[in-house]
C-alpha cells in the first residue's frame, strides 16, 4: 500500500490495521486522521495491500 504522510510517500507490502500503521509511523491517533481510498477510516479498519492511504495531522499552531 502507498501511504502519504507529511508530503512523503511510504510503501508497505502487507495489509494492516490503521492502528498498526500509526504505530509504525510513531504518530498519535488523537492527533491524526487516516483517509483510505478517499474515505476517512477508524483505527480498527484493515488497510489492504493495494490501498492508497493518506495520514493527516490535525493539530496546528493556532
Amino acid at each position: 500500500m502507498k501511504v502519504n504522510w507529511e508530503g512523503r510517500e511510504y510503501t508497505f507490502e502487507k495489509a494492516m490495521l490503521v492502528s498498526r500503521l500509526l504505530d509504525e509511523l510513531e504518530v498519535s491517533a488523537e492527533a491524526h486522521l487516516v483517509v483510505a481510498n478517499n474515505r476517512l477510516v477508524t483505527e480498527d479498519h484493515k488497510l489492504g495491500a493495494d490501498d492508497n492511504v493518506k495520514v493527516i495531522r490535525v493539530i496546528s499552531g493556532g
Binding site: 498519535s28 491517533a29 488523537e30 492527533a31 486522521l33 483517509v35 474515505r39 476517512l40 477510516v41 477508524t42 483505527e43 480498527d44 479498519h45 493527516i56 495531522r57 490535525v58 493539530i59 496546528s60 499552531g61 493556532g62
Partner: protein, 312 residues
C-alpha cells in the same frame, strides 16, 4: 467499528463522546453540535451582520462553509502577513471558498501598510512574530467590523486552541489573560465589535474531519513562524492526557466556562465594571495612551493608514 446511527462501517471514532459515526452521520452530528452551541450561548442573532476571520486553515474555512450551510450569510476577512508562499497559498484557498459560497472577502496586506512582512515588523518592535501577528490581526479585523458595519466577528478557534491557551495561562499564572477568554466577548459601543467562537467546544480533530469530508481545500502547511511555538507543546501534552482519559479537554474548558460565568455574575452583582481606556490616535481599546497598532506604525515612522482590498 460501526456508525452509531446507521450501523455502516464508521469513519471517525469520537472517544470523548463514546461514539463513532460514518461520514454522513458525522456531518449531521457536527453541524448539530455547532448549531446547539450557537443557540445556547446566543452567538449569532437574527439581526446580526457577521464576518468571519479567515486564515486559509481548516478551522476558519470550515466555519465559513458551515455557517453558509446554516443559512448564516457572512463575508470574510483575511490578513495577508506577507510570508511568501505560505500567505499566497492561504489566500488562494480563501478565494476558492469565497467563490464557492458567493461571498466577499476583505484582504489586508501587511506589506502594503508596514512596508515589510510580519517577521520584519516583529523584529522592529522586538516582539515574537506570533505576538505581533495577533496584535495586528485583532486590530485589523475589528477595524473592518467598525468601518464596514459588521457587528459580529466570528473566529474558528477550537477546543484544542482554547484548552492550550488556558493551560498556558494557568501554568504561568498569567492572571491578566486567565479570565479574558470566553465563547463570546461583548461589544464596546463604537470601539469594539462583538466576537464569538462557534467551534469553542469542538475538538481540532472533529473540525479537521468536517473539513476533509466536506471537501474543503485548506492550507495544510503550518505557518513557518509557529515552529517551536509553546501552543504546539501544550497541545501535545493535552493530547496525551486525552488519549489516556478521553473527554479531559472538554471537561477542562467546560469547567472554565462555568467558573467564568460565576465570576462574571459575582462581578455584575458587586457592580464591578472595569474602566476602559481608548487609543488617543484611533479610539481602539488599550492599556495606555496608544494602542499596539498605532504605536507600531509610529515606531516605524509611518502614518496611520488601514486599507483593504476587496475580493468577490
Amino acid at each position: 467499528m460501526k456508525c452509531r446511527i446507521c450501523g455502516q462501517p464508521a469513519s471517525i471514532n469520537l472517544r470523548s463522546h463514546k461514539t463513532a459515526f460514518c461520514e454522513t452521520d458525522f456531518l449531521h452530528f457536527f453541524e448539530r453540535r455547532v448549531r446547539t452551541t450557537i443557540r445556547k450561548y446566543r452567538l449569532v442573532g437574527k439581526d446580526d451582520r457577521p464576518v468571519v476571520a479567515v486564515s486559509g486553515g481548516k478551522d476558519s474555512l470550515s466555519l465559513w462553509y458551515l455557517l453558509s450551510r446554516m443559512g448564516i450569510a457572512a463575508d470574510g476577512i483575511y490578513v495577508d502577513l506577507g510570508i511568501g508562499d505560505y500567505s499566497r497559498v492561504s489566500l488562494e484557498k480563501i478565494k476558492a471558498v469565497a467563490d464557492r459560497l458567493g461571498r466577499k472577502v476583505f484582504i489586508f496586506h501587511v506589506r502594503d501598510i508596514f512596508q515589510m512582512g510580519i517577521g520584519e515588523v516583529a523584529r522592529a518592535i522586538r516582539r515574537v512574530p506570533c505576538s505581533a501577528c495577533g496584535m495586528i490581526k485583532r486590530y485589523v479585523m475589528n477595524r473592518v467590523c467598525m468601518d464596514r458595519g459588521y457587528n459580529l466577528l466570528l473566529t474558528g478557534h477550537n477546543l484544542d486552541d482554547e484548552a492550550a491557551a488556558l493551560f498556558g495561562n494557568v501554568l504561568y499564572w498569567k492572571k491578566e489573560y486567565l479570565w479574558r477568554k470566553d465563547i463570546v466577548l461583548e461589544e464596546k459601543e463604537g470601539h469594539l465589535s462583538r466576537k464569538a467562537k462557534p467551534f469553542f467546544l469542538c475538538s481540532e480533530r472533529e473540525v479537521a474531519a468536517y473539513a476533509i469530508i466536506s471537501g474543503i481545500d485548506y492550507i495544510y502547511e503550518e505557518c513557518p513562524f509557529s515552529k517551536g511555538a509553546k501552543t504546539l507543546t501544550y497541545k501535545g501534552i493535552l493530547g496525551r492526557l486525552e488519549e489516556s482519559s478521553p473527554g479531559t479537554k472538554l471537561m477542562f474548558i467546560k469547567g472554565y466556562l462555568n467558573e467564568l460565568r460565576q465570576m462574571k455574575m459575582h462581578d455584575e452583582a458587586a457592580g464591578e465594571a472595569k474602566e476602559v481606556i481608548y487609543c488617543e490616535t484611533c479610539g481602539y481599546p488599550t492599556l495606555g495612551g496608544q494602542c499596539g497598532f498605532c504605536w507600531t506604525l509610529k515606531k516605524l515612522g509611518l502614518s496611520y493608514r488601514v486599507e483593504f482590498e476587496e475580493y468577490g
